[in-house]
Symmetry: C2
Subunit: 448 residues, 2 copies
């Protein structure tokens, strides 16, 4: 094995105590997704290159091709590439298995994806995504657009991410509003207005006049719409007050009001009707979502988003509309673990270290460990029959809270010591368990 | 999205009810690994090609190179490839993080790996492996060689794999035995004897005479050693009876006897001392393991293996010896799920479907679902306020065992029906739970 290690930038790897945070996050997401009836799938890492392409020139450039090192051009192997999101493989999976799936199909998927982009803060070349989608064959009822952000709110409420908001809009609102203003090229206007998170309003206004050919009044109205933001259904009156009307606008306002009304009951304070949110303009057709951390430093990108789309995939006969959201696990952990120091208070799952009195009694220590494990207590036997002080330090260095001493109790029984408090009590290997809060690692930040 | 789906051979993907089996297997392995004190790590999918190479010409040919499609030779990007096992990335991880890890370091890792080999029965181009290893800095105590197969036995005892055996040998036994016979070129003899699983003994004997230059007596002794196989420490006397002696042989017999003695207590009947097992000849230096399913059809390869190695990695100053085992999840599932039809009895995690009386009361059904989920019951709200018969069929088709009817109980309360038995009882959304065996899917085989 070569000894020189060449670090690769843009690939996130964690030390064991940090990895426990990652596991806790993905476990929690999985648990909540399953509680809400999403089934897991796992797709292969590669797709045919022709299925990955066509996402725009910049995106295509970032695709990683995959090819056997020994392949020659004569082999005629089909071009393969690593998937750059979980949507393309999911769409292919739905088409490939449509005859075996029952629709509406609710799936979650937690896997890495790869993009060969230049690594920057919170942007990686390999990143784990957690996606949920509900797709149907033919028609997809609107109520799923109400449901998706409630699932995400439920999940994030259980994660130590601090305050968060799910910003919600409905593509029909700007579209209907623009049409009501007499604007025909809705897409161009949307694309310009979407720059509001990067450019000052005055610059966006200039472009609306110059590039989209809007009148000053139209431009002002478009900007006014984009500033509407309420944590309840109050946005409806604010939009109405702008005096524009169109059937598509009515539909959008009604749908977004339904989302906010359900949020008021099931996820109070967690959703925000934010009419500036656009996301992937050509793709989404109804409700759109963006997940943001309230206390994240300036310049932190959103850590997830999604929306309603009318055609995830089509096999020529059937079309599969859907609604979904994608959570950027690597980005979330890059911020919370990498930048803010969130970490587990131990670097191992172990709750109890069983001491070894001398090497001849290792078998007895193994018996104790087996008894504890049978009752679900992660247990390790000490690697060496060293002095007890040294064995305790072995546990302490790893954050293991308890050390078990065979035969150290009354009448030849065992004893267990909480090495944080120093308290030692007699204990029966077939009865004693650590308190629930010590059974698994706790997540801590250095500041806390 | 292009509509044509091109299947790729050698990539295993499962339908949702099969995927539940995969999850159950990886969850069980993870649980047991953590109970035994192994910490999780996750490494990136790619390694520098120069780290992946040098595993033998055939293996090198199978490496998948990874390169941005838009990369030009002038970019000078370092050559990267997908890892083909979890050992190479683990060795690199240990070197890269040696200063931050505490040794002995026990890690488990459950991830895909990739090899561009020709797909065959139970051999895949993308395959999930579950690895455990214990590595130390400098010296690694022998007792870890005793421990590793006990962890695997604990894990497999909890999986529906049928009868299994962990075949165990110690590299010091053939090495010492050959040296005791006066054979110098131990490696060549080992390599020829290792063919016994493919060639008849007579053919192996011919090669020992012709290629390794053994005398007839030496060859017969080597073959006699390889046939020794006992489920207890009886192998020691059988080897002694062959009349060969050497200090290395003594050490190997003693160590293998310790493994078998511990197995007799902690994993009775699950280990087999099998002196034919060799595995990766140049690599292992002590105990070696191979996991086999007793009832698997003829020609089924082993579903895991490993052993003790003296140098996982070295940074020039320190050497990291270790012992570990790798379980081939994809191979296991290819056999049990793909060939034998093992599957979950539902295609969703959902235990309860909440019916919707009419679309106006969907909010009430959502409230019921939220109450059940708060108590850990995976619950789905019916997609449409269809006739109850249709809503029941929706549940039935997915294997969801219970349907909840809002307001169908006495005095306006709710009722829940077990749709398998047809039994319906009044139920309180804040109290009722399904029996534990119905809370999660059960794994079944069509024959059972």
């Amino acid at each position: 094995m070569a000894s020189k290690v060449t670090p690769l930038s843009g690939f996130q790897e964690w030390l064991p105590a940090q990895r426990i945070v990652e596991q806790r996050f993905t476990d929690t997401l999985r648990e909540v997704f399953e509680l809400h009836g999403f089934a897991s799938i796992r797709t292969r890492a590669v797709e045919p290159v022709d299925r990955l392409g066509g996402q725009g020139e910049d995106a295509d450039k970032e695709i990683y091709g995959v090819r056997r090192l020994a392949a020659t051009d004569e082999d005629g192997e089909p071009g393969m590439g690593l998937h750059f999101d979980l949507t393309v493989p999911f769409a292919r999976y739905v088409l490939e298995n449509a005859g075996h799936l029952t629709f509406p199909f609710r799936r979650y998927q937690i896997q890495p994806a790869w993009r060969g982009e230049r690594p920057q803060r919170l942007r990686y070349r390999e990143f784990v995504q957690a996606d949920i989608d509900i797709v149907d064959s033919g028609d997809l009822p609107f109520h799923y657009e109400v449901e998706i952000p409630l699932v995400v709110a439920d999940a994030f409420s259980r994660l130590p991410v601090g305050e968060f908001r799910i910003h919600v809009n409905n593509r029909k609102i700007p579209e209907g509003f623009y049409r009501g203003l007499g604007i025909d090229d809705v897409t161009t206007v949307l694309r310009i207005v979407d720059k509001l998170d990067k450019l000052p309003p005055e610059a966006v206004r200039e472009r609306l006049l110059a590039d989209a050919g809007l009148t000053a009044e139209q431009a002002d109205q478009c900007l006014a719409l984009a500033t509407v933001r309420t944590d309840d259904t109050g946005f409806v009156d604010q939009v109405r007050a702008l005096g524009v009307s169109h059937p598509t606008l009515d539909e959008g306002l009604d749908q977004l009001a339904q989302v906010m009304a359900a949020a008021a009951e099931h996820a109070p304070g967690l959703l925000l009707a934010d009419l500036m949110i656009a996301r992937g303009l050509d793709y989404y057709t109804g409700t759109v979502y963006e997940i943001r951390l309230v206390d994240a430093p300036e310049g932190t990108p959103s850590i997830g988003g999604g929306g309603r789309y009318d055609a995830l995939a089509s096999d020529g006969k059937r079309t599969f509309p859907g609604v979904g959201i994608s959570i950027g696990i690597s980005r979330l952990l890059g911020l919370l673990v990498g930048e803010q120091g969130l970490v587990a208070d131990r670097e191992t799952p172990v709750a109890v270290l069983v001491a070894v009195n001398d090497e001849d009694s290792r078998a007895e220590s193994m018996r104790i460990a087996a008894a504890l494990r049978r009752r679900g207590v992660p247990t390790l036997v000490s690697p060496k029959a060293a002095k007890f002080g040294k064995q305790i330090r072995f546990a302490d260095r790893r954050g293991i809270p308890y050390v078990w001493f065979p035969g150290a109790g009354e009448a030849g029984g065992d004893a267990v010591k909480d090495i944080r408090s120093g308290e030692q009590v007699d204990a029966d290997r077939d009865v004693w368990s650590p308190p629930a809060e010590d059974l698994t690692a706790a997540l801590v930040t250095p500041e806390a």
